[in-house]
Amino acid sequence: MRVIWTPEHQEQIARHSEAGYPNEICGFLLGTQTTDAKTVLEVVPAENSWAAPEEHHRRFQIAPDVFLREERRAREAGWTILGFYHSHPNHPARPSETDREAAWPGYSYLIQAVQHGRAAEIHSWQLRNDRSGYDEEEIITRSLA
């Protein structure tokens, strides 16, 4: 699966991640999907609703009612929820064990590394259907014609 988006989407996530540093930030990727590509049409920041604020530097959660709202909004636009993004402050852009426990197949999980306050590498991952691990997805950044 490939994830296609614009430089503006990438920039939006980088800025959101830096603004939230040293905490983790999160959000949705909405758009359309074919059998081999996901096209991002909107990046939607979401509040980190993890219950313990003192753990926000290493945990994030998107509240279910926010999820319901965004899924409804996507459906009405003829889109779908393609996946989610979150930041890893001072950690590599690889899924952690915490991520795997909570992950769902089918969605893209974009991880933006933030090293000492500055957005670093970004990678996209998809959970295998048997939950045994992740496959990395190619991210294609291109401007809309």
Binding site: E18, E24, C26, W50, E55, R58, R59, F60, Q61, I62, P64, F67, L68, E71, T80, I81, F84, H86, H88, P89, N90, H91, P92, P95, S96, E97, T98, D99, E101, A102, A103, W104, P105, G106, Y107, Y109, A113, V114, Q115, H116, G117, R118, A119, A120, E121, N129, R131
Partner: protein
């Protein structure tokens, strides 16, 4: 009459439900409905339930607009026309699967840190979790490595490709006389793991290049540049800026040292300070200009202090400040550094967005600058014939020590004098001898020939193609590199 309930399946799970967005079942409770769903679509079960049959923590089930957790959970009754929605909770976070703990031996070892309110056990955990990459195991790397290992930096990486040379021992205090000729990283790892067996030390025995730097740096949080040449400094700087990692920088020369932190968020980078390298040869290296042996001990320890502060997140790091130390005056001075808005790598409109050829950028050409006359060249085959004929020939190998360790010309009178040392050591050679200059490919040896010629040597020849050609045409057992 049974209640007909619609189940809304989230996008991610539709592939396990025949790609349907909604399915309908008859039942009396939410639990019964879900049971029918996962009976018909067995693959869904592992994503909704744990092995013990409990709903996964990250699955929320809504009946209409209410979370069943706040109703009667699985026993929540349903009415005809109700909608059950599976809502995946989206959560995660950075890896903390192995909480950082300390053995009683470590507690004792770090006790002078643990009793400081600025550090405590929480700070010591940060040091243990830190991943620091040292570039170079030389004068600066020696004290820095010792103090970082002693402080309990949990993951220490070191890049170097040199062998320990006797001229290192005047300042590189990690090495002993017995280490001469041993790869620096072998000796360093032995010394540091002897000092602190509780840390992980990774040795990267390689030359840092534009090809490997990004891949190598990405697994570390802090980079500490202790190198002594301009191409590597610009390479480390650019790689750190591109990856968003702080570069704790230090340099030394004769009696003076400098320390700063480049590439930190909102801080300047090395190019903001020095947009262009000096012309080649203008600023001598320590090998050429010398260095007071104790100087790197002081400056490398300052560098270690900055790394430790960054890892702990305390104090005022040297971001936007350059600290200069003069050992003769015994004086520290501080200079403010600003981010250059036109910086080609860390400015808002960067023109450098990937690593470049740093030898070329610093004006170091690999093409011969010396044009030798044809009669000053000798091919490997001719040299072999002359040696076999019993001619007295002195071969001067001007390569670096780590290169000699890889391969050399055997069964001949070979003198090893690295090109940089040649001006100071030419007295070891005799102008009466027939001298053949040799290096890897013939370029450096041609420069060496010019140096000796300038000094009055006349019986000089350059081995065409160097040891590479020797391996190709005379002795294939000589390794090429």
């Amino acid at each position: 009459m049974a209640n007909r309930v619609t189940v809304l399946v989230p996008t991610a799970l539709r592939q396990f439900a025949n790609n349907q967005e909604t399915v309908s079942y008859d039942g009396d409770t939410v639990g019964a409905i879900l049971n029918s769903l996962t009976t018909e679509y067995g693959e869904l079960r592992q994503h909704l339930y744990r092995e013990n049959g409990q709903l996964r923590n990250f699955v929320n089930i809504y009946l209409n607009d209410e979370d069943i957790r706040y109703l009667e959970k699985a026993n929540t009754p349903v009415a005809d026309g109700d909608t059950v929605t599976i809502v995946p909770a989206i959560a995660g976070g950075t890896a903390t699967e192995e909480p950082i703990t300390f053995s009683s031996e470590e507690i004792g070892r770090y006790s002078r840190h643990l009793i400081m309110p600025e550090v405590t056990i929480e700070g010591q955990k940060k040091l243990k979790a830190a991943r620091v990459l040292m570039i170079g195991a030389g004068g600066l790397g020696a004290p820095m490595g010792l103090y970082l290992a002693a402080a309990g930096i949990g993951h220490l990486g070191i890049v170097d490709s040199d062998l320990v040379d006797d001229s290192n021992l005047q300042r590189q205090v990690t090495y002993t006389t017995a280490d001469i000729g041993v790869p620096k990283l072998t000796a360093t790892k032995r010394r540091l793991s002897g000092l602190n067996p509780h840390i992980e030390i990774t040795t990267h025995e390689m030359r840092l290049t534009s090809e490997n730097a990004l891949e190598l740096f990405k697994d570390y949080d802090i980079i500490a540049d202790g190198t002594d040449n301009f191409p590597t400094r610009y390479l480390v700087n650019d790689a750190c800026v591109l990856l968003g990692k702080p570069n704790v920088y230090a340099s030394i020369f004769r009696f003076e040292g400098q320390v700063s932190i480049f590439g930190a968020a909102d801080g300047p980078c090395y190019r903001c300070l020095y947009p262009e390298p000096p012309p080649p040869g203008l600023v001598p290296s320590c090998a050429e200009g010398g260095v007071l042996g104790v100087l790197p001990g002081i400056v490398g320890a300052l560098q270690a202090a900055e790394v430790i502060k960054l890892a702990l997140g305390i104090g005022e790091p040297l971001i936007g400040r350059l600290l200069r130390f003069d050992a003769l005056k015994m004086q520290f001075r501080e200079y403010k550094l600003r981010r250059d808005p036109d910086c080609p790598v860390c400015g808002p409109n960067p023109t450098i967005t990937g690593l470049i050829d740093y030898d070329e950028f610093c004006g170091i050409t690999l093409t011969p600058e010396v044009n030798l006359k044809a009669q000053q060249e000798i091919t490997p085959v001719e040299l072999k014939q002359n040696l076999d004929a019993g001619e007295r020939i002195v071969i001067v190998d001007v390569r670096e020590p780590h290169e000699w360790a890889i391969s050399k010309i055997e069964n001949a009178d070979v003198r090893f004098i690295p090109l940089g040392d040649l001006p100071a050591r030419m007295h070891e050679l005799n102008t009466a001898d027939e001298i053949v200059m040799q290096c890897r490919s013939g370029v450096r040896s041609a420069k060496g020939l010019a140096i000796l010629q300038e000094a009055g040597f006349r019986k000089l020849k350059n081995l065409t193609g160097g040891i590479l050609a020797w391996s190709d045409t005379v002795d294939s057992t000589v390794a090429k590199y």
